[in-house]
Symmetry: C2
Subunit: 222 residues, 2 copies
DNA sequence: TGGAATAATAAGGTCAACCATAACATTTTT
DNA sequence: AAAAATGTTATGGTTGACCTTATTATTCCA
């Protein structure tokens, strides 16, 4: 297999797709949101990625990673999350900033460096946001979790991972103590796509549904 | 002072100038060589850098870093060399590859990360190639050294630093044991810009003048 | 001092990744 | 089934950093 050089932009698109969708088709508009570009730009880029065999696009249905695309994406996620570990555990970088800084580093990381870093870190299994780190061969087992947005009134759940990437969102979650390991209780579910109200760390917190989608939890039986 | 975002390319030009010239004016052709671009491209870029107040260009005389340009360059060198330390000391990356990998990382490194990294490393003073690491404020004392290319027949000298950057050059120097700390003796100086022959580590080594320019040494009295 | 070598500038081209605007297609909702 | 919302495609534009080829300017050296 030819190891072409993939641009930073390409890596960002593939990573975003892996973070958002996993196996499923992703609406181009969702991609545009996460990458902060216009839907028109996404369309163009998706065409280019399609030509390279990295994604398949079914008009009006969404974009899906091909096998090849998923491999690349897992590799990007591996680099990203290993750097997150390093920045958080060793450099003591603020939790909410770790993603952002790791993201820049990730695109500048050669395979030799990735593997040496993994060794240095002791082959960690999860990043500070709780997400699993794909193995060197690209394999990784997804979390057995559901988005907090699907939790019902009165349910208790433990946060397993935070899949948000924007620093301001991460900062908000950090301030409100919605972090991996924490246990939250849903004490109100507002109608009309309204926010959830949670009890966590002795306090009540309102959380919009779209943010709650990126908080992955495991239900706890009472 | 406005903190505009400087492109990777800008950083590379400024860094190359700091590595090559220090205070002096640098011929555009030398820059073109080191950066592997055409002189025409250098000229264009130098104009852009001039407009940003980072360099001053005196036609037919050369390019020189302005105060502002030198500050940026020192900052880039700091990041570069700190990463070299990390890659070499902690990730055990091959000496000859360290520069190349650090170079990619350097452009992707936020100030917070730079300073946290410096702390993690214990504020090292030199990189694995022997070059001084500028302080956070940009200050740094240049080596008291001369290029090996200026050594005379019969002289002994200790290698203080290697200022080469190309991986294949570094690999050659590594194989021939021309590394910081080593002591070399000049046993032959060929005429017509010919190579130096050195005695180092029990072996004789031929070294072209242009390579010898990037080996910084301190003369040793016998 | 005149020619060679070197340096600079001009003109026009490429490429990736964006952008805006507008037209058109499809899906969803009412 | 029509209107609204969403998604797609077309067209044309921008920016940065490169490229080639050709011309002109300056410096160096014999």
């Amino acid at each position: 297999m030819t190891v072409m050089h993939l641009s930073e932009s390409t890596e960002m698109y593939l990573k975003a797709m892996a973070e958002l969708g996993g196996q499923d088709a992703i609406a181009a508009a969702r991609l545009a949101e996460r990458l902060n570009v216009t839907p028109v730009s996404v369309n163009e880029m998706v065409r280019r990625l399609g030509e390279q065999g990295l994604v398949s696009h079914i008009p009006y249905k969404g974009v899906r990673l091909t096998k090849k695309g998923r491999e690349v994406a897992c590799n990007v996620l591996r680099r990203q999350r290993l750097w997150e570990c390093f920045l958080y555990d060793h450099l003591k970088i603020e939790w909410s900033q770790v993603y952002e800084f790791a993201c820049s580093l990730e695109h500048a990381t050669a395979p030799e460096v990735t593997e040496a870093l993994a060794g240095f870190l002791g082959n960690p299994q999860t990043c500070p946001r709780g997400n699993p780190i794909p193995a060197a061969d690209g394999s990784f087992k997804p979390l057995d979790a559901m988005p907090l947005s699907e939790a019902k009134l009165g349910e208790m759940a433990q946060v397993l991972a935070v899949n948000a990437t924007a620093t301001d969102v991460l900062k908000y979650l950090q301030e409100k103590n919605i972090l991996p390991g924490r246990v939250v209780t849903v004490i109100e579910v507002a109608p009309m796509q309204g926010p959830l109200t949670l009890h966590v760390g002795g306090k009540d917190v309102a959380l919009g549904l779209s943010m709650a989608e990126f908080v992955l939890v495991k239900k706890i039986d009472k």
